[in-house]
Symmetry: D3
Subunit: 329 residues, 6 copies
């Protein structure tokens, strides 16, 4: 626990060296168009959790290339929902290694009155929380983890699929009767935060973005200033595949949160820990400083990758109520 990056004043002025690769917009437009064209409906099955204040549904929606992706939908109990009025919604993405977990976990957003779509992470969910969604395939050698899966081309890279899932999760939420399609926010921490930024880029009319200590930003700097996982997976790959540096950096530019931040416009709240060695603060500021919409950032000087933790959740709740209004009407 120590300052791991340049001083805060420099962070606030820092600009990433990442540039948008040629064809970036076409790449993502095409990917998303293809996913939407694949069709497929959203399926909901009620789950018996023993809870009385929150209703939980097991959701399957069409993600990348129409592949089925799982999620939990949590709603305040029917007795607490306004009759005939849809709810504001929070679509949440999960941190590295985790899946959607168990239905009775993570009750904050529904307890606060939101429809809460808690999206699974394809091919993850075997370390700190369980997942139920397989990834679609692999294309070559990879360092353990998914950071280097298919990394030799934007078309095959893992995060192309995950980010498309994320955009389609917003589509899925909006398609529900119980949700007010104009009041859907994206939210997440670490990988979930980076994914939320991408979702706000791919679906620019989301109502708000909440990105806690977002991962996946400013790869060129990140892979040279931290030896912590999961950025480390990329460094390890490059240490062996010395002949593929250019190709890898080209691929990463397509998912880099800095490039997505430049194309997003929803009101945004970022958070950052100045002692975060997993997601160095300059990489967060790289995205924040590039972000094109209205924005604010909470700087936690004495925190690592936990950032503001429960304080961040409480503040995110205030932030989302400000931008989405009373979730129940």
């Amino acid at each position: 626990m120590v300052f791991v990056d340049v001083p805060e004043a420099e962070l606030r002025a820092y600009r990433s060296s990442v540039t948008e690769p040629a064809g970036f917009a076409e790449f993502w437009d095409g990917t998303l168009a293809e996913a939407r064209a694949a069709g497929g409906g959203v399926r909901l099955e009620p789950v018996d959790t023993g809870l009385v204040t929150v209703d939980v549904f097991d959701v399957t929606f069409p993600g990348f290339a129409g592949e089925p992706v799982r999620a939990w939908l949590r709603l305040p109990a029917a007795a607490l929902r306004p009759a005939g009025e849809p709810l504001a919604a929070v679509v949440e993405f999960v941190g590295y290694g985790g899946g959607r977990g168990e239905p009775q976990e993570n009750l904050l957003w529904a307890s606060a009155g939101f429809a809460h779509l808690h999206v699974d992470t394809r091919g993850q969910g075997a370390t700190w929380s369980r997942g139920d969604t397989p990834d679609s395939g692999t294309w070559g050698p990879q360092v353990p983890g998914v950071m280097t899966r298919g990394i030799l081309a934007p078309e095959t890279y893992y995060y192309r699929r995950l980010f498309t899932d994320a955009a389609r999760a917003v589509d899925a939420a909006r398609s529900l009767d119980v949700v007010d399609a104009r009041r859907v926010a994206v939210h997440g921490g670490s990988q979930g935060g980076g994914t939320a930024i991408a979702a706000a880029s791919l679906v620019p009319d989301v109502a708000a973005l909440s990105a806690k200590v977002p991962f996946l930003c400013d790869f060129p700097r990140a892979v040279t200033i931290t030896d912590a996982h999961p950025f480390r997976e990329v460094t390890d790959y490059l240490a062996t595949h010395r002949d593929k540096v250019e190709r890898v950096l080209h691929t990463l530019a397509h998912v880099d949160g800095v490039n997505h931040a430049r194309r997003a416009s929803a009101p945004a709240r970022f958070t950052v820990g100045l002692m975060d060695a997993v997601v160095p603060p300059s990489t967060v500021f790289a995205a924040f400083n590039a972000y094109a919409g209205e924005k604010e950032i909470a700087v936690w000087p004495y925190n690592g990758h936990e950032g503001g933790a429960a304080d961040d959740d409480a503040a995110a709740l205030v932030f989302l109520r400000k931008h989405l209004g009373d979730p129940r009407g």
Copy 2:
């Protein structure tokens, strides 16, 4: 992550060498009588959390020697509570280093319909979750942490005070109109599990006990087979204070979960991880095998101190509904 103790068959037959010290019952009866005699009322103040499905109150109740102890009381929203019917209650204690945390955290039990009294931990709450209750004092040199605070005599030992707080938390819960005094369970993990065992010993008519990977059991073995914190604090103390081994073990016998388990009678559910190096499984089995009431144990062979985690919570919910009935009815 590896088996850290003797094989499971031996664990199931294992008996601790801990014996009940002379005057054990009198020590605790006197302590509790004194605390109850100190009087003091339970104070509730509503907290504005932004939640709509759960009502939260900031509670102050009289603990050891009548000293004020804080807690959160979480209830299902009024609209979901049966009119004029009290609720079954779960009194929860917290793991080492943590306090009661934030009001909008830990919504499981209230969401399941219980009154949930989430008790602060005196003098802790500065590492992984915040606390708001000071300890009453110190009596001599100590290793960092509270494990050795006042350890030279049962009367001055930190856990005398914490366990008394726990018993008084049960008293406090029972005194509330919203709680059905006959249906109050104690629950917790790690230090919270050890504290729950003590509460079930000191208040033997609690309705049920749920102890996840309980800490604070079988000290004589624990301090010689793990070098992990927090048991390690005791070992470190003894490494310097070589001349006080007998006194320290005498003190510890008064709080040892094995001795408390022998005096408890509520139906109990324990859990244990066979790869738990923080709370070695033999220390959990020492308490479980000694437990005087109806009992069951979930053995997680491939888990460390996280035990069953969300699976344990889901199972605890089933267990408590079995012994306390529908919390709302």
Copy 3:
């Protein structure tokens, strides 16, 4: 560096608890038949390495399901090969994380007069040596690495594919004019050793087996007595997917080196390090003690996972010359 397991006398008597699952033979017979039925030829392209004593070819052969697998074929220079006489061959498999590496590496076997087929590792080759062969796909969440890829069923498990590649590599070597099909040995260290055992089970008439510190044996014990990677990946998976222990152990029984050792018959040389925390010695002895053919084992008391290293290679050379004869005649 310390003895990590039971004493050597117990190791020599140790028997694994692993049993052969029903349908084991059919599973592998079917898999191999299907791979052979998929057809496909062996392709060789000469590589310009700058070497003058060894000729190197870039090989592509049909592996699991006929999928293309890469290898290096190294031969003593033409001037040193007997006219019109095929060579004895060594088919070598690689340790965890590695691929076939570079053409000018690993010159021992060709320098000793053997045809040396150095087989790539599908989906690996991004940590300590490069690989060029993609895996065919994934089927669900996985811990980083390949140990848990598709682990919920024998049909989808990663090692079904890798072991089939290994058997087909023997087929490929035998199909070459430059190789004497009756004198083909399998060889490897760690994962390469475990794979060689499987190859000797699937192609029982190989001329010899050399397994250095073989990995992938006696999973039920391994995952409970070491916390080192890569066995640890399985433990980590089970720590989260607590509900799938039976399924996982059932899958693993199909690749367990103990079960394959029971079906092999070629003369075999094993090696083991008594201080090997990565591949605990009991797991090696589990396979060695179960091995059905003529066998010997080199026990290195003071070595970890490096085992005998260069001494093992020198001894393997003597061993293979004894069983295959002069490679050139």
Copy 4:
């Protein structure tokens, strides 16, 4: 072992950002006046150590709020003391975690002819050396250790009490017949060095100050550039109690060695290790550069927190003999 801070030239010019809080002088004047007003005498009891060249006494003197504090007084044997002549004295304070230890330890100063008052550390003395002095109480949650005990206000902070003990230890030494009150120096390493600086501020007419690798200086910088204990305890506290940063820094400013250095005037010798990650060299230079009296500093480029060790002791002996003269005359 590596340079852990800015280059030496920058260190020599470095100025801390710490400023003296309003009311600093009144705070300490009042505290000390109160302690002195509490009265209480100095009690000496001879200890049978088996030593023949050094006489040792077990001392109890009144510290903070008059509370009893222990110390050892070591004197050269009576036969070696000048008749009717008092001795120069060294009052020594102890490093973090330690107490006064055993009577037969630490014989240097008495062997060199000084009266040596070796002061215990309240509430410490359970890690590397034993202590016998309890602290007076606690006021709230704390991270393990004493760094955060009572940290929410200057009045309740642990170091208010310890520093007052230190000043009163000088008073106690001066009150002894065997001591020449005009020739009393303060000395210590690490926490003992920081405490000695405070003593030289609170009792400005001490004859000399010797501060080896002094701890407790320049908190605002220290808590952001080292993750080593014990500074880390403060960082850990702030990581959880994010809402109390201002209060904590305000408290710390009252004990910061930089502020005390500005008020001291005795001739001083500091030492610093450029590879000291426990007490980063900039924090030592912060105090040294601010020190108001005559001063010198020994810079050890290749040392960590051990600094000059025995070389520092030898040099401190020369330094004190220079400023206090022959201790015996």
Copy 5:
């Protein structure tokens, strides 16, 4: 900090597998005879330390093969020495990596009235304390290690030379006028303890032996049950030099403290820490249980390699006064 070996009851019965190699006595008799035959006198030069209670001399005496070895001689100040009466003496050996250190350190024994010969360690003295004596054929202290220097034959092994130095140090002490040759004890901790055992074997009429947590005993077991340095150096050597295990064990048997203990007869005090991972307790008990003279052992259950530390020194002082009488008379 955890029990690192078999239970105490087994330790008390444990017997090492080490046997005395043929020619052991002749080897050491010849070595010592040769050293004594090399002649050379003991040279003393007074050192100006600034101390007034202890006189210190820089000593050079003839060690192995007559090579010059350094030591400090510390005496109580002349005024405290009985006129015309020699003193009892303590010859002390130093732990691994250290040398005799500085003259003003380690004042305990002279302060207690003994003549204290503090012997340097050839070729060591570059890690935690300085040394001034080169090993044969080298040029001065160097950073470790020496455990494998010349290990292929007893004749060339480092410890042949060090142990001969130790025996000759006793000779040197006895030759001094200020020392009572009948009352010379040997003493040391860790390597110093193992060396003291050897000295008590080579000079069997020393008056007493004090061996704190003695190192260098029961090599065959030690090198397989601890991975801590310095035993680890031998294991590392054997891990590479696999072909020299027999030779190495043969050499080690000549210095093994177990074999020396069998030939010693002075009254002895051993100490051991049950949590000592550097010198596992079974290796200490191996020597203690084999020790041929009157003996006692202090068992510290909760200590590592520090053993009883200051408590051991205090007890050693009592022990030596019991066996040597009042040092001054």
Copy 6:
């Protein structure tokens, strides 16, 4: 794995503070003249390795002061050598801790047609590969370290002897009939790279220099910016021997690769890893930037001390063929 030094642009301009000590040339000229004057012939004995493409000889040649030094000479098999034509040669030096290893290892250079003299490392060869050459005055390889052996004077320092061995190894290679004396290159990695630089300084007419991640350069900076071994051995020495800093730096200046680079003139290829914490990149650039001959450097941004590994070997082969021509013609 992270950038461990200043940015690449600064590295390319970086100049070491090391200056050539007075008498540097005379020191080395004298040392080498003395070694050459000591005479002694080169002895070759064929080794039976079982290899058929490479002939291996066990070589003994006169090194420092004429002391016997071992090496392997590997040649392409006689059938592949041009009749009556000598070969170009590669003289290779080994990394820290290693010796020449086994005859059948390291076949690259002979397989590429070169005569390959693989030189042993005096007094090393007991950690990762075996050695057979004792240092002066010792008896064989031992576990490290040698960095501080004889470090108080250039005359006694270990690397004086090793570097002289290296120069004499070039002499030895040139004296062989099978070698073309005009076409001898020096090559090595880490310590072997530093030694190769020294050899190119001491024998300036070598045909080429290949130095992979060379160690032993720019000591004044190295010992203050890395805490990794083996530079750390020097820092540890200086941490204790605080009074000998000047002497030690004076000695080191005689072996510093920067000073040797200034005197070398052969065409050179360096390599460096920007994430190399063992040999920080600035120390490599210090030597490279000072190098007096034609030069090139391969910069591996994402690699640690492995540098380019097999890619470096392949490139070194191309480089040496460019400067030495076809080894066989």
